[in-house]
Structures are given as structure tokens and as C-alpha cells.
Symmetry: C2
Subunit: 107 residues, 2 copies
DNA sequence: ACTATATTTGGTTAAACATGCAAATAACCA
DNA sequence: TGGTTATTTGCATGTTTAACCAAATATAGT
């Protein structure tokens, strides 16, 4: 792997890493449904400490997946990318494919 | 998040986490091109210790992304899922979107 | 200015991950 | 059987991550 190739995979990995956490996946799902949501509502949806949720959001933002805007004392987050639904479709097909195999093993 | 929802996101996260590493992304790319590749060739492509590559492959396998078959003394890995190319398309669009923004900031 | 609310950041701790070397397995060849 | 090659696993080490609490920041309302 040369320099440029390495950089390419590192960039991709950074985005995937930002998505690779249950709480952050839930955040993305909520944002996909509601367009613009404040941290307090997202915190309710996740059920962890608000500081934890804030850091998760920071990671998503840092990866370019969400963006934020402050209105008054609240900060609203929204998705920056539309294709995530199809991405999850692919992930689900991995999951389903694997689940099928496990059924095969059991039978 | 109830039990079932939590499980759903954890399963997805597991797959994404398996993909979220530069070396493993490179492995997936090589496998997407060549259909079936032995560990030794994959090791050459990555440039890390073979034991490291073997562990990366184990992670991909554990997540259901690749499968393996032994022929003689060599183990061949192949992709189990076809949709990964479109998935990377989405990742790239995140990357590009972010890159554009950074250009905007600079200008 | 003072208080309350929303969010982020600092500090700490425990768990997970990545890597290389060396050793264990497994399969081939002589 | 003995030696060689391909792959995986055990072990040790350093790095990263996640979580919570407490403290800092920022904004709104009084």
C-alpha cells in the first residue's frame, strides 16, 4: 500500500468507525426520521448521560455525517448525507446472510 | 431503547466495526477484485505481519463479511456479500461532502 | 447581575483493539 | 518419518474507546 492508497482507506475507515457504535447508529436513525433534533431529545432517545451523547454526536460531526446549528441555548443536529439508508440496507444483508447460515448450522 | 432495538443496533454496529479499519477495507477491496485469495497474497497486499492479517480476516469472517475455505495448506478467503461497493459509494459521498466543506472554509 | 437550562469539556477508569514475535497446527513433499 | 510452508493462536505491550461525574461555557429569563 502506497501513501495515497493508505490515505484513502484511512479516510473511509474514519467514517465507518464513526458509524460503528449502537448509540451512534440509533442517533443516525432518529435524525433520519426527524430532520433536526436537539441534544436533549437525542439524549432521551439513547438513554445515556448527556455528556456521552454529546461526544457521540461530536464523533458523527467530525466524520462529516451530521452537522449542527445552535438556536438559543439548544443545539440542533441534522444529517448531512442521504445515502445512509441504502448503506444500512447493505449492512442488513450481511446480517441476514449470516443469520441464515447460522440457521443452516443448527438444522 | 428496548431490548430488541438495542440488539438491532448492536448487530449492525458489529458489522460496521469489522469494516472500520484501513487494512480490512483494503482486504475487502482486494477480495472484491479477485474473488478468491489466499492469506499469503493478502498479506503481501497489506504489508503487515501475516498473523496480523490473519486476525483481520478472522474479524471480517466473524462479522459475516467473508468466508474461507482450505485447499491444501492454503486458506482462501472470498466475499460473502456483493453490495459492499455501493456501501463504499455512500462512504465516499460522506468523504467528498466533507472535503468540499473544508475547501469552502479555506476559501 | 443572578439563576436556571442546554451543551460541551476535563479527568478518571475499565474494557477493547492492534501489532509483532514466537510457538502451535496442519498439510505437503521427499 | 523428517523437513518445509501456510496459517492460526498465545502472549506482552501500547493505543484507543466508552462511560460517568463534575466542572466549565453559553444563553435565556427575571
Amino acid at each position: 500500500m502506497n501513501r495515497a492508497e493508505k490515505a484513502k482507506y484511512e479516510t473511509r475507515a474514519k467514517v465507518l468507525k464513526a458509524l460503528a457504535h449502537p448509540a451512534r447508529l440509533k442517533l443516525v436513525d432518529v435524525l433520519a426520521e426527524h430532520d433536526e433534533v436537539c441534544v436533549c431529545d437525542l439524549t432521551d432517545a439513547i438513554g445515556s448521560d448527556m455528556s456521552t451523547v454529546s461526544r457521540h454526536l461530536a464523533q458523527l460531526k467530525n466524520a462529516g455525517i451530521v452537522e449542527s446549528e445552535k438556536h438559543g441555548q439548544m443545539v440542533f443536529y441534522r444529517l448531512r448525507v442521504k445515502c445512509l439508508t441504502s448503506l444500512f440496507g447493505c449492512i442488513e444483508s450481511v446480517v441476514k446472510c449470516q443469520a441464515d447460515d447460522q440457521l443452516k448450522v443448527l438444522s
